[in-house]
Amino acid sequence: MRHAKVRDASTSVNLTSPLFARLNTEAKLAVFAVQERAILTWNAVRFIFARPFYGADVIQQMNAIGVDSLFIVILTGFFTGMVLALQSSVSLQTFGATIYLGHLVSASMIRELGPVLAGLMVAGRVGSGIAAEIGSMRVTEQIDALNTLGTDPIKKLVVPRLIAALVMVPVLTVVNDLVGIFGGNVIASLSVDIPSSLYWRTVWDQIASDGFTLRFIPNDFVQGLSKPLVFGGIIAITACYQGLTTSGGTEGVGQSTTRTVVTASISILIVDYFMTQMLLAFF
């Protein structure tokens, strides 16, 4: 990218200074990267419905993103649910309100912790893997080989990963929610002496208390599942973009994986806030 030289005698800031030139360049690069991601996203979404379909690749990616991430998601969900119940029970005991433990754990897990934790876990485990795989393909000319063999790399590489992430991150979130709430149940039974039947009844009371969409779908589920859908898209697009734009050999592959994890994780947390604001306005 060229360094634009800005000359503006009417301002007191020296616009030709190296610092300004660098800021100018960085800002342009940032805007360019956003634009490139937007184009990649648009093309990937458009190609979901365009031939050829790579069904086997989608299944393979679902396995890599979903099944292979199951253990880490179960582990984090279980311990997060237990910690949440443990910490909450201390505060609730102060007010003699430990009966609300199921309410608190389920609301926290379904609306926030489940989607965000699953998103962050997948971003770390799968996002880095996708970036490394596609980045390696880029630096070893395999992406060029796809092009020369008449295959669109976006259709072959990006679309299957996007579809798999859009499907599997919500599935992992459901697993995370269930295991987290079960972890809360373990603490409720062992440390707080709340019977399991009471705990699960309060969990359901919480889910039902927020109302239903289309009469059957709890609003908590709508909130809890719309987020991971977006997070899945963020992870897949960020990882594929970083992979496809990798340069600089194996060192570049390492940088791409790091950038993927950092960018996807930060994006998930920021988007989570704005989605929460928006969803609370509707539900």
Partner: protein
């Protein structure tokens, strides 16, 4: 750089004159089956620059069944010429014509379709490392044909045998389990799978020992003789270039410094060409 008048073209006009002479020679019967034919590949006054010039006013023509070898120092734009032919890049000025069509005017989908008639062998072979040798060679067939599994296997075996590999021995191996020369040969087999009209090679002999280099060179010559495939080879290896080339183009300072037969190049008295040949 100076150039001897007989064989060196240092201006676009001179290159065009030479191309016209070659066409006339063919029309007179000197060019075997390409009498009156138009070039399969033509670069017409092509210029391309990124931060600095990569190619400047380059004109080349390759006719059916010919092998053009592009030689030159590193960084003079040799591989870029291949990417222009594949339409992975589009020139800033000039035209790249493949089979009579200006590739810059093709849509992305049309360019993908055009590439199905070309085979490309990359410097590092660029085999898909998650796929076996069989899957690599079968890839273009699965992508672009409706052949049955049995037909695909038969075709893959045929192509592997053509490049002197034993299908039963290598088909199930992963690229990581192959030697450098075997990777190159599998790359050629993959490029040939769709029976392309045009083969492009980016440094096909780089990093190989002399015996393997000779094998790869022999293969490229065999392709030209037996299948009449039109080929463009980018190479540093002047000895191999002399064996396989119908014509050699020497790129220097991002321009065509010489275009002619290997014999013309060897006979050239141009200082740069002699230095180039002597240095290799």
């Amino acid at each position: 750089m100076s150039a001897d008048s007989a064989s060196t073209s240092d201006s676009p006009r001179a290159q065009r004159v030479r191309a016209a002479i070659r066409r006339e020679l063919r029309a007179d019967g000197a060019g075997e089956e390409s009498v009156g034919a138009s070039p399969v590949i033509a670069l017409e006054g092509v210029s391309l620059a990124f931060d600095r010039p990569v190619l400047e006013d380059v004109s080349l023509e390759v006719y059916r069944g010919e092998t053009l070898v592009i030689v030159g120092e590193s960084g003079t734009g040799k591989s870029t010429a291949l990417k222009l032919i594949l339409r992975l890049l589009v020139p800033d000025r000039g035209r790249v014509v493949v089979n009579g069509r200006d590739v810059a005017g093709l849509s992305f989908e049309e360019a993908l379709a055009t590439r199905q008639h070309m085979g490309m062998v990359f410097q590092g072979a660029a085999l898909f490392d998650s796929m076996s040798v069989f899957e690599n060679v079968a890839y273009p067939l699965r992508e672009h044909t409706s052949l049955s599994d049995d037909e695909i296997e038969a075709r893959v075996r045929e192509k592997l045998r053509f490049v002197d590999l034993d299908p039963d021995h290598v088909m199930d191996l992963l690229p990581a389990e192959l030697s450098g020369g075997m990777k190159k040969r599998v790359g050629i087999a993959r490029g040939l799978a769709n029976d392309p009209e045009i083969m492009l090679y980016d440094e096909p002999t780089s990093g190989l020992d002399p015996l393997t280099t000779a094998t790869i060179t022999r293969l490229i010559v065999k392709l030209q003789r037996e299948l009449r495939v039109t080929s463009v080879v980018v190479s540093h290896d002047i000895r191999s270039a002399n064996r396989m080339a119908s014509y050699i183009a020497l790129l220097a300072d991002h321009r065509i410094a010489f275009f002619g037969t290997p014999e013309e190049m060897a006979a050239s008295e141009d200082r740069y060409i002699q230095d180039f040949l002597g240095g290799l």
